[in-house]
Symmetry: C2
Subunit: 221 residues, 2 copies
Amino acid sequence: MDAAATADGPARRAVLVDQVHEAIKARIMDHAIAPGERVSIDGLARELGVSPTPVREALARLESAQLVVKEPLRGYRTTPLLTPAQLADLYHFRLLIEPWAAATAAERADADGLARLEAELGAADAPESDTYAAYRAFSAHDARFHQLIAELAGSDQVREAFQRTHWHLHIYRQYYDRGIGPQALAEHRRVADAVLARDPAAAGDAMRAHLEQSHARLRPA
Amino acid sequence: MDAAATADGPARRAVLVDQVHEAIKARIMDHAIAPGERVSIDGLARELGVSPTPVREALARLESAQLVVKEPLRGYRTTPLLTPAQLADLYHFRLLIEPWAAATAAERADADGLARLEAELGAADAPESDTYAAYRAFSAHDARFHQLIAELAGSDQVREAFQRTHWHLHIYRQYYDRGIGPQALAEHRRVADAVLARDPAAAGDAMRAHLEQSHARLRPA
DNA sequence: TGCCGGGGAATCCTATAGGATCTTCCGGTC
DNA sequence: GACCGGAAGATCCTATAGGATTCCCCGGCA
């Protein structure tokens, strides 16, 4: 109950509102609720078998996280898909912070951190199938990998900033491409190798290349 | 009541929960509730003369914005003050994104944007007194100035990332220094002059210097 | 003196109720 | 055929109620 407490605390699952929050987030991430679609408070309450009160509280949290937007007296909607311009802005933002994080991780990471990085890469290889389950597994690895890089760089600010971008990308990505796992994984491997070799310049370059190629993969043709 | 609608939309003030949200945020910002202090849901409801339901929803929003943290079945607390290490991390993060924003603003801003920048600087000069009201006015100008730079650079991501940092800094700053207005304002002027002169390199350098000096002013002696 | 256990009060959490607002549909009018 | 007005239904918003958990104090015991 100690090492598992990374950011969310030990065991927050005693309260209904947290379960509701996770359930709604999952539905948005999985596109059980499409981007831009209306989200009914009472409807969700009926569907989840709870009262509207915890649903309301969960939606308020999701609003600050920008997964839904609120129109007073009219209800909530899921956040619309990013426009190409917004997608470009988001990747530009990541280019400002993540290459720095990779380079700094190569400088500062301790032995334990490098071991965790190696373990993350090892555990996530070969997303061969093109199924939805495989996609979700890859996406989870992607989130863990980038957050781990930020953590090794010692910056909570960068880690949290990445996390916010990741939610939007997760929603966006499914619409355009699902066969991106192996390519991204190979790029992750190059970043990790540079970090493990303690080569800051190479790590930064590898991360920059990864982000640019990732953006290119998502950009609509 | 029209020009004030910068990012929040025209008139969201028809719903009680929004008023409650603003009221609680103001109390945290003004230190009517100290950092780390417990925040009682029922207590706030009594104090504001409303029922606990909208208070709950407002606190859930503030939780995602990281102004309060929740301990299930125990209640909310205001976010503790940043440690010196966290403060350094936050400024490092700003150094990654804001000099870029200033340089890009110098490249891309249109005539209208430059006029707004000039107006912002002109309207905010001479915070001579050391009163609390003067501090609040300066802080509001500071937020607008940095967000305007991000906006001129064309990046919503940077603008939102700055906004999140500003909330924490606002809370932090009051504990250490209140006579910082004139210095910061002079640095803002240098940034703005470089942007108005369309000199990206100078704008980036001026912003970098501003952030480093701002950090130095806040760092505990 | 220090530690442990129990009881009451306060607080949190979820459900429910009723008033207010919005949406939708339908008939009437131009 | 197009536009406008009103009524029914659904939805949102706020208040209130009751059960569950936690906090706090105080008396008993080592």
